[in-house]
Symmetry: C2
Subunit: 247 residues, 2 copies
DNA sequence: CGCGGGTTTGAGTCCCTTCAATCGTCGTGG
DNA sequence: CCACGACGATTGAAGGGACTCAAACCCGCG
């Protein structure tokens, strides 16, 4: 039933077990470390931790001990508030780093939950802090990843602060498209791993509003969407849609 | 006319010129570096760069060369969009680090503008990357600062995504209150360095709405506000206000 | 086949924006 | 000292976008 050639950013059947043959090498922090130091087997780096769908990689308040890179599957991070009003603060897919929120306080300040069965590399932070020639590049890589996360948060804030709901959804789809493309998947046809409610939470709107705008974009011929399956029909129009208000 | 004892987080008349007598020592990255290594005069660290009100510390697209810590005064960062819809993405005061947005791409992705006459320390990033025993703690400090920034962005996203305008404004005031308190100023009485429009942009609303809610909070007796001067009369009620909807 | 969760869609309401006018404040110059 | 202008802040009226509540629908699954 599922088209086998469709980009879904899900686990590939045979997972690479060594970094040297890992497709994420360019984006993966762990691989940097392993490759730069192939002999150091004593380093307790776990490069294939399995996390089942719906399971927590870490929870708010957990002691921070490690950074993670997504090898396969995808995650959401959820900020929990006292009174039950949560919000999805990020979606993460293969190659993305997770866990940096905990470095500052040494406590995680959000939940990281697998949207599907997934695998991660675990990078114990104590190892990162140890000095060594080969770690210099790793430090740099981590800082770049954190900087990138700050920039991405800026952009989400921009989205939440200045755009109306339809524009946010369009921007969200374009962002997903880019990220799929960067990972070698089709930028125009993909499967959403998150629910409408999770999208709504991330974009600061009601899930009914998400549905409405999906329908609207479809009726306008910009996208084709049925349930989690999305096909972008008119990227240019979608990009125009993001800026619709400021013409 | 202006109460001289009012906390304004502005430049003190006599600026400390050495880190050893700098009041920000606890929070300041530069001071860590200098103190850990007082003899290294060849390190090109500028610890008293003056930036006039309205001047740019850096602009979007500038090459990233250094991190900055605010010694006195305050800053805003502004994300610029293609079509003129900007947004304030952060306010920074004494002790805060600026510039981490540029580490990833080696280009700054926002403007940093002084809200008042200010002084910053400049930490050339090339120096940071050089290895050395005494740099280890600095690296750690920078990563903690970046992690803290990610957490703060999370919270702003939470604000923008889940709270109505009045709650956002209340949360904003409480956040300022905390930050002033952390710097030794009064948590209940302070002067805003930013305009209504800048607050509105940061909180993702209209400046008219900011004014309206300031008036509303005043009429309810939670705060006293005239122009930039704010006095918090009922912190507990203000905190309740943040969660007003989820009871 | 019935169940449950997620999705879509409708109707009504309200919060917030938009547009605009007024007011207050501050700096400048007559 | 006050008039003046510029800019920010406040406030009003009107309109609309998004939420709320709720019902119907769809789909996967036991």
């Amino acid at each position: 039933m599922g088209a086998p050639d469709l980009a879904v950013a899900t686990s590939s059947p045979g997972l690479p077990t060594r970094c040297s043959i890992c497709g994420l090498r360019e984006a993966c922090l762990t691989c940097d470390l392993m490759l730069a130091n192939p002999a150091r087997r004593e380093e307790p780096i776990v490069n294939d931790l399995h996390v089942g769908q719906g399971s927590y990689l870490y929870r708010t308040g957990d002691a921070f001990t490690a950074l993670y890179t997504v090898r396969s599957g995808s995650y959401k991070t959820v900020q929990t508030m006292e009174l039950g009003r949560d919000q999805v603060t990020g979606f993460y897919m293969a190659g993305d780093m997770l866990g940096a929120d905990g470095i500052g306080t040494e406590l995680h300040d959000c939940d990281a939950i697998a949207l599907e069965d997934s695998h991660v590399c675990v990078i114990p932070y104590a190892q990162v802090l140890k000095q060594g020639r080969y770690k210099r590049d790793l430090q740099n890589r981590i800082q770049k990843a954190m900087s990138g996360e700050i920039v991405r948060k800026h952009n989400v804030m921009l989205l939440l602060g200045t755009r109306r709901t339809e524009e946010r959804l369009a921007a969200f789809l374009l962002n997903l498209s880019e990220r799929f493309a960067a990972r070698g998947y089709s930028p125009t046809e993909f499967v959403l791993r998150m629910t409408r409610r999770e999208i709504a939470s991330y974009l600061g709107m009601n899930d009914a509003t998400v549905s409405r705008h999906f329908s609207k974009l479809r009726s306008e011929g910009l996208i084709d969407v049925q349930n989690k399956r999305v096909r972008i029909l008119d990227i240019a129009a979608l990009m125009r849609c993001v800026n619709s208000k400021a013409d």
